[in-house]
Each structure stands twice: as C-alpha cells, then as structure tokens.
Symmetry: C2
Subunit: 390 residues, 2 copies
C-alpha cells in the first residue's frame, strides 16, 4: 500500500524527544538530556486532596464535555495571577486553556502561517517550536541569542525587512540556552515591533522559576495588542495533566478558539477542575519557592562542577528554569560526546536540533531539574571522563 | 493592530458547537440540539475508585510527562477489545492515544492533506470533521448517505475518478443521520477502494452503542492496510477526560505519531491511567449494556412521539448511537424551527452545517441521549406545537 502523505511531513525535523524518553527510562544512565521537572517536587498529596474534592463535589460535570475556552474559574485564576504578579490588566476573557504550551505552538502557527510565510525564532531555538511550526511549511528565520537576549541588530533588520508573521521567543530562562532577556532588550523589542504588523509570541514556560523569585516583565506589557503570552502548569504543578494556556488579545483569541475547537473540542475538563481546586486551596508561591530552591541549588552545583572538572567547556549561567547550554572545546562534536556518554552511563543532549541551519554541533543542552544532587555529582564525573578521554 | 492571519481561517465554517453548549446551559430549554452522552450514565463511583487507586499507586508517574504514543497497558486493552469483539488481529503497536476522536480528525487531515487535495465525506457529514478538515484547505467531495450507507454509484465514481486522499465516514450510527452502513455496502466499499491509493477513515465513535448489542464488522476488516479506525471513550466512559485513539497500519501511525508529538507531546497521562484502571477493574460490557438500554428506550420514545405527533415529518430510525435526523414538511426551514423552538423552550439542531453545499435546510438533527424520558415527552410536545403553528 502506497500512502500519499502531505508535503508538510517532509519538513518535519527528525525528533529527539522520544529517544530522550527512552534514554531517561534506562536506570543505569544518568540523564542530563531530558527536560522533565523533578518528579519529587510534584505535590502528589495536594493534588490527591484536590482530586478527591472534585470527585466528591460534581464528578459528572467534571467528566462531561465542556466549552472550548476552558474552565472559567481556572482562567480567572490565571488572569488574576498576571494582575497580581506582573501588574498586567489581564482578564479571564483573554485566556484560552490548551494542552500544555506545546499545543499553543501548534495552534498559533495554524492561525498565522500560510505555506512559505516567514516566522522568526531565536538561534538556538526551542525544538518543540521548530517541530510544530515546520509542519505549516514556513520559512524560518533566526536571530542569534546573546546572554541578554536577541542580537538586536539582526532582530531589527529581520523585523523591518522581512515580512515575519510573528517572532517566537522564550525571554525567561530559554530552552535550550537557559538565557534570560534583559529588561532593556524587552523594551527595545517592543519598540521595534510596534512599527510593524509582526506579532510577538512570548513563550513563558519558565517565568515562575527564577532563582531570585523576582518576576521579569514580559514584552507583552509594552505592546499588549501585539503580543501573546503562553504559560503552562507543567513546570510548576504537573506535566501529566497537559494543561497550559494562551493569553492573547481578543482579535487573536477568537481565531485561536476556532482552531482549538477543531483540534480537540476542549482540554481535559477533569484536570482543569482538579488544578483549579488545587490552586485555590494551596499556596502556589510557597510551592514554587520550594521548586526554585532545589533547582537553584542543582543549577549552581552543575555550573560549579563544570567550572571545576571541565574548564575547557564554556557554559551559560541561568537565572532560572531547568536548562543550561555548554560549548565543547574546539574540534569536539556533541554527537561524539553523546555516543561516548551513553556508553559511560551519562546522557547529554546534542545542540544540533536547536539549530535549523545545521550549526551548534559543538553545543550540548544540560538539564538540571531531573537528576538528584548525588546523580549530578556522579554524572558530571562520568561526563568529565568522557570528554577528557575524547 | 492588524493581524495577518493564515488563509485557512477563511475556510473555517461558522461553528455551532459553542452556541449549542450555551443553549444546553439554559435550564428552561429542553435541548435535543446537543450531543452530550447522558451525565446520569457516567459511572462516577467506578471512576472515583479507579482515580483513588491511581493516586495511591504511583501519582508522581501519572502526573509526569510520558511518551507520545500513550500508556501501553491502555493501548493493549484497546487492541485486545478489537480482537475479542470484532475478531481483528489488532496489536498495541497499531494504537495511538489521542484527545478524543476530534483530535484524530485534525491530525489525520494534517498528515494527508495538502491545500487543494481532494477528500471525500458523507452527505450529510459530521460537522466536527468538516471543521477539522477545512482548516487544511482541501476540496471536499460528498457522497449522499442512504439508509444503508453511501450511494454506491456516486461513491464508486468518486473513488475511481477523483484523486481522493481519503474518504471519511461513520459507518456505525452516523452523526448526524443516525444511519448505519449495511455489511454488503462495507464489503463493496472495500472492494472499490482496494484498486486505489485512497485510504478509508472509519470514525467509530458509536460502534459500541448498538441497541441490539451486536458489533458490526468495520471496513478495516477487509482492507487492513488501507483503513484506519478511530475510537473514543467519550460515549462509553467519560468525555471530559478527552481520551480516544486511532488504530492504524504502521506506515500511517509513524507519521501520525510525529504530528501528535508536535501538536501536544502526549495526551493527558493521569486520565489514561485512570481509564485503564477503570477498564481492568470493571465490566465494560455490563456498563455499556446499561447505556444501550437507556438510549434504545429513549430513541424508541422519540421515534414514536415523532410518528404520533408530527406525522408530517419523516425521520431516520437509528440502530444505535445518540442521534436521529428528521426532514421537515416542504416549505418549512430548519432555521425557522430552531428560532421558534428556542422561544417555546425546545432546541433542535438545523441540519445546514452538515451540508457543505448549503443543502439540508429542511433537516434537523435530534439527540436522544441527553434529555430524560420526561423531558423528551415535554420537549416533543413543545416541538409539535412549534411546527404545527408554523
């Protein structure tokens, strides 16, 4: 049988994500390659209580179909948190619930991109976004990411000269680099974009996880009608529920709602209710402080061990999030390090898939949220031996 | 701010689904317009027990990320049920979990349809499919649906002359018509398609809900490599969990898995585990018999009331499922009946959105799963007055 698939499949990059899950499943391998939040920091007791309350209260409503936009009290909670945390006048009507940040990537590309349209991303860029966008067959332009945000010369040239439908970035603790945009660059981005019809798509999966517990103001603050923010409970509460959201101006949200409905009617209602119950009966800030304390310590440990044991590598120094990026000594390829690492029981993620131009072969992404501190010690020992031997 | 949306949005049909949810929410209106399974038949006690067991056993796994294909034991259960119920040699490797049947529609269209490609559907056709497919900008061809399945002359001409990428149908208790394909037509469809590269996409949301409790053999039985089956727990267990699946040959499933991952990484893992726990600790057949008993009785009641009180209407006589379709007396439009019905406290769904050619203006879809028998009596009284007055 010959299947006549759509052309878009030939644009799909080879995915590493499933391979990563398989590596993560091998207990003899210490993995810095994945991107899981720490299982130990999922508040299973709190979620259990919230679940039981929902199951006692109105299970047949929670288990029934609902509207596409999502559970209103949950959307009100999310909007309220934008107001109190960032001082942004968000309302529930501007929030649509989706299946984690990833679905936002797919649906946002779907409402904006014709085949051949231009879209801008960071270099390196988030793999999940590259995978989602590619299926709409756009031309993807990249802007180098510096320690404090995009290279503004390249960014300005791109936004002014190219007909970008939108620019996608992760200003807070970017995946894969761990970098955070400075406030100056955020303002500059807003100023440059304001003169154009290009929308800024601000993926904020990690904004709650700054090690100093201080929020950073999003670009959307400066250009509210021209920017959307996406968020997720995957890094703060529980990824398995697949609940995230988009916060967007109504002109965009109306279209987004249409494609969300066509995509899967609505997100899991049962988990929306559980999450909401959890959020109104627990102290989210307190829970996040616990997560941040652990991630911050692990990040510092990993950076210190890199500096001590592998001074020949340079690396980013994250202000938050779950990842850092290291650059290998000249002549060493990340693919070689990955292969040799697996044999020695340590996995790192080659940077290659984050560079759509085939670059980044000397970079690796390292995750510090999943492994325990003991495992970080042991894994870094193994990695140091691997790299020294090579 | 001017948003430069993708062309595909201009192809999106105006959706009635959210309007329907709003009508359903008004307690003074008896709604035959929606498509909800009966909330009273959701086994909340059983699901509560299963939920508690998952929360006791391994909550931090259930709440963590997982692989895209879905929870293996759940996929094994689904495959096993195909083997025992239909005698089809299905394996877990041929099953991918999705967010209800609706996501299957989106992702299947995504892997097959380039802009301008041809796709075949039934006339009337399922609205959710029309919405999902339209966003990929295909040319949609229709085949009239008769009481025992597609008009085979038109079907054969379409499949042989047109380059259809796939034909989408609901052979079991179709939405909106309530019709079921005869076994002869299923075999004939397989024979016609076998000579082509066109795939048969068999949406089986209602196959478990035949009033005689006898399964019908799917077209996929005859052309296993050329057909996919989609299924869902929304009509048998709980729609709010958004868990369905596609059962497809590996050549298709590999591509499907790529777009599923790009769409939202994986479906809600917590609910996959709850569902699986529920399924292995409860008698699904027994539960389905209860649902079928109720739906069968309500369907008969609605048909009898239609015959008694509105003999000027003709209607289909479903063998299962949740819907029937009625044709209004000449000169009466479904839009008029809808408007007048709302004022009198009864909602029916105009057939218009199920006909992409603007036809069907004299048809209405009537749901018999949501309303109670009392409500069906009262609602039919109201409807009879509305139509008699008009």
């Amino acid at each position: 049988m010959h299947y006549r698939f759509a052309d878009r499949l030939s644009h799909a990059p080879k995915s590493f994500l499933n391979e990563l899950f398989r590596v993560s499943a091998d207990p003899s391998i210490i993995s810095f390659a994945g991107g899981l939040p720490s299982s130990a920091l999922i508040d299973t007791d709190g979620i259990r209580t919230a679940t039981y309350q929902v199951m006692e209260d109105d299970p047949s409503i929670a288990l029934q179909y609902t509207t596409t936009d999502g559970y209103l009290p949950l959307r009100e909670f999310i909007a309220g948190r934008y107001r109190s945390r960032l001082g942004i006048p968000a309302t529930a009507e501007e929030i649509q619930i989706v299946n984690g940040s990833q679905q936002c990537l797919d649906l946002f590309a779907k409402i904006f991109l014709n085949k051949g349209d231009h879209v801008g991303i960071e270099r390196p860029g988030y793999l999940g976004a590259i995978e989602a966008f590619s299926l709409y067959e756009p031309i993807i332009d990249t802007v180098p990411l510096e320690d404090d945000g995009p290279d503004m010369t390249v960014f300005e040239r791109l936004i002014h000269r190219s007909p970008e439908k939108f620019f996608y970035g992760i200003p807070n603790s970017q995946n894969p680099s761990g970098r955070t945009y400075s406030q100056e660059k955020r303002r500059a981005i807003a100023e440059i974009m304001e003169e154009t019809d290009t929308v800024f798509y601000e993926d904020d999966a990690f904004g709650e996880l700054f090690f100093d517990n201080r929020p950073r103001l999003p670009v959307k603050r400066y250009i509210p009608d021209q920017a959307v923010l996406s968020g997720s409970f995957s890094k703060t509460i529980a990824p398995g529920m697949r609940i995230g959201w988009i916060y967007a101006p109504s002109g965009i949200l109306t279209q987004f709602n249409i494609v969300k409905q066509a995509a899967d009617l609505h997100s899991n209602f049962f988990c929306q209710k559980i999450l909401h119950r959890y959020l109104i009966t627990h102290d989210l800030d307190e829970h996040i402080r616990k997560i941040v304390e652990v991630y911050s310590r692990k990040c510092r440990l990993m950076c210190d061990l890199l500096d001590d044991q592998l001074p020949q590598l340079s690396h980013t120094t994250p202000q938050g999030g779950m990842f850092l990026m290291a650059t290998l000594p000249q002549g060493l390829s990340s693919g070689t390090v990955f292969e040799a690492g697996i044999k020695r029981g340590v996995a790192v993620l080659p940077g290659l898939p984050f560079y759509i131009d085939g670059g980044g072969t000397d970079t690796i992404r390292m995750n510090f949220s999943t492994a325990s501190e003991e495992q970080i010690h042991e894994g870094m020992d193994r990695l140091a031996r691997v790299i020294t031997d090579l």
